[in-house]
């Protein structure tokens, strides 16, 4: 395998990554020669429809893809290490601590039977040797950093007592506990109201800048890409069909599929004047 050197300003590089689902011995390719990089301190987006492989790619970065997904070629490089060659044990020092992920449905990602404070403290103690008291104060700091008001009361509450937007903030706080430098966010605002979506996205952008994080959004919403992202990777049927600046994607999309996505995202307004004449 040729080892291309990671460009100095790239945080992560996925190089010719192909993977197949192992269906009882029969290999069905789902990721085909996926190649892209995430520049440091940028906010990128992987855009695609369901089944395009965007989530599987992100999960592969963290070594969290389903076991039946078998890598057939290529590699994923993060700084000086090749993630795809690390053992599960080595990967565990990276996952969460260096590269973290926020999952789509925050309330499903939180355990319903433990208080939010308890879960955040457990996360701290899984990664750092600290006393309970220190863990608690770190957890409280994290909640405050995602702008959750009334932290001490919120720490004692259970996930069901949080609104969707607030639960998403908790999930975000949980990933920030270990100060990761790369944050993957899988559809972080799907299911949130547009008003709350803007708040959560602004928060992600601010935190990314404050903490010098590289962030990567996995989304199907090109509107978010235009509003917040610097880079965009368009995926379709397991392949990367376009990788470009977020600005370029709106002015001069090169791949027909990108154009199709853009067109589909903008719906035609119903012509009500015409309907009124008919009526």
């Amino acid at each position: 395998m040729t080892r291309t050197k990671l460009a100095a300003d790239d945080m992560l590089a996925v190089e010719g990554f192909s993977a197949s689902f192992d269906l009882k011995g029969e290999l069905r390719p789902v990721l085909k020669d996926v190649t892209f990089s995430l520049p440091s301190h940028s906010m990128s987006a992987i855009v695609g429809e369901s089944g395009s492989g965007k989530s599987l790619t992100a999960l592969s970065v963290l070594g969290l893809a389903p076991r039946r997904l078998v890598r057939t070629s290529g590699q994923i490089r993060y700084r000086d290490s090749v993630l795809t060659e690390l053992s599960e044990r080595e990967l565990r020092t990276v996952r969460g601590a260096r590269i973290a992920m926020v999952f789509q449905d925050a309330r499903a990602a939180l355990n319903p039977v433990f208080t939010v404070g308890h879960q955040l403290e457990a996360t701290v103690r899984a990664h750092q040797k600290v006393s309970r008291k220190q863990a608690k104060s770190l957890a409280a700091d994290a909640l405050a950093s995602v702008r959750i008001p009334d932290v001490s009361r919120r720490m004692e509450q259970y996930p069901h007592q949080f609104s969707g937007g607030m639960a998403q903030r908790v999930a975000l706080a949980q990933t920030l506990l270990c100060d990761p430098e790369l944050l993957l966010l899988d559809e972080p605002t799907t299911g949130l109201d547009v008003t709350i979506q803007a708040d959560v996205m602004d928060l992600i952008t601010t935190l990314g800048a404050e903490r010098h994080m590289t962030t990567c959004l996995i989304t199907h919403d090109l509107g978010l890409v235009g509003q917040y992202c610097d880079r965009v990777i368009v995926m379709k049927a397991g392949e990367v069909c376009e990788q470009t600046d977020a600005k370029t994607v709106f002015s001069t999309p090169t791949h027909p599929y990108t154009q199709l996505l853009l067109d589909a995202s903008e719906l035609k307004q119903r012509d009500t004047t015409e309907r009124r004449i008919i009526a």
Partner: protein
């Protein structure tokens, strides 16, 4: 007929929702309290028109839709079709009404029986209302599939063998089976990808043109509302705070909430100019609704007199109503200062 005549006035309403209020009794912090999910809702639906209920989650739009579909009984008020109330005792009458109002659910996976084939899904409502003639059933099932542009080769498939778009079409076909006058569409495209979303919306429009069915669309996707609805009812904390023809509400919103909702949606361009018009925080709990204007704790231009009493819905111009007593502040220059993010 003039260009300005609204559909709802040129056509007779088939459903009239009058003063509908729905309260739930809940226990919060150990005390029994009443939660007002929907407060004195008033609107009509005419044949062949599409009305959209929009608002954030917690605004009461789903509760309102459930009342319309007779899945919830209103605490107060009446819902009538052709002058006769739909909520009436007796199974037979209720059953007749259920034929007239059907639902398409948000999540096709949860609303289709995984063990039924496409044919069974469609035959069940037909049997319930039109009898058991086998030839007739086959003919109607084929017709329904054609109506929603599904291929007949899918007849023996089960939901898990269908794509998301196909499942949602099947849900629509099932609703159409009993030839309803109104179909409640609960977030009909929320489960779909953008590329299939457009197809579904186009299909809904074609079906409406052919059958003259009325849609009550419940959605928080404003793009979908804009492309499908003739009239919009904007709900907040259980009340309608603005209503009117879609194009007018979207181009000239008269309530701060509507304006914020419209301007919060990301635009399809690179770093679009962002509106400074934003709401603070989140929708409060319906157990403690503000006493004055419902938006007082989030409104960017709240005034002292907004707290005094709940503003009524008043006409801004013909059939465009709004419940804001300070619409002049919507164009206040300080709030129009747009900032690039």
């Amino acid at each position: 007929m003039t260009v300005n005549a609204d559909i709802s006035r040129t056509r007779l309403p088939i459903m009239r929702v009058q003063n509908v209020t729905k309260t739930f009794s809940t226990i919060s912090a150990g005390r029994r309290t009443h939660l007002t999910a929907v407060d004195q809702l008033d609107f009509t639906i005419a044949a062949g028109e599409t009305i959209a209920l929009v608002g954030e989650s917690g605004s009461g739009k789903s509760t309102a839709a459930k009342c319309v579909a007779d899945l919830l009984a209103p605490t107060e008020g009446t819902i009538s079709m052709d002058g006769a109330p739909t909520i009436r005792p007796g199974r037979r009458a209720r059953r007749r009404d259920h034929r007239r109002v059907q639902l398409v659910f948000q999540d096709p996976n949860g609303s289709l029986d995984p063990r039924q084939t496409v044919r069974q899904v469609l035959e069940e409502p037909l049997r319930n209302f039109f009898g058991n003639n086998r030839g007739e059933l086959r003919r109607r099932v084929r017709e329904l599939l054609a109506d929603v542009e599904l291929d007949e080769s899918l007849l023996n498939r089960r939901p898990r063998e269908l794509s998301g778009g196909q499942k949602q079409r099947l849900g629509l076909a099932r609703a159409l089976a009993v030839e309803p006058e109104i179909i409640v569409l609960d977030e009909p495209t929320a489960s779909l990808d953008v590329s299939t979303r457009g197809q579904m919306l186009a299909l809904l429009e074609r079906v409406q043109r052919h059958t003259d069915v009325a849609y009550l669309l419940v959605s928080h996707d404003l793009a979908v509302v804009q492309s499908l609805a003739d009239r919009v009812l904007v709900m907040y904390l259980g009340s309608i705070i603005e209503s009117g023809p879609t194009d007018r509400v979207f181009t000239n919103p008269q309530h701060p909430y509507t304006k914020a909702l419209i301007e919060a949606a990301p635009k399809m361009e690179y770093r679009a100019l962002r509106s400074a018009w934003r709401l603070d925080g989140e929708i409060p709990s319906p157990t403690d609704r503000p006493s004055g204007c419902l938006l007082t704790n989030r409104c960017p231009v709240v005034q002292p007199d907004c707290h005094a009493q709940r503003p009524p819905l008043v006409a801004v111009d013909a059939d465009h109503l709004s419940a804001c007593i300070h619409p002049e502040l919507l164009s206040a220059p300080s709030m129009d200062a747009r900032t690039a993010s």
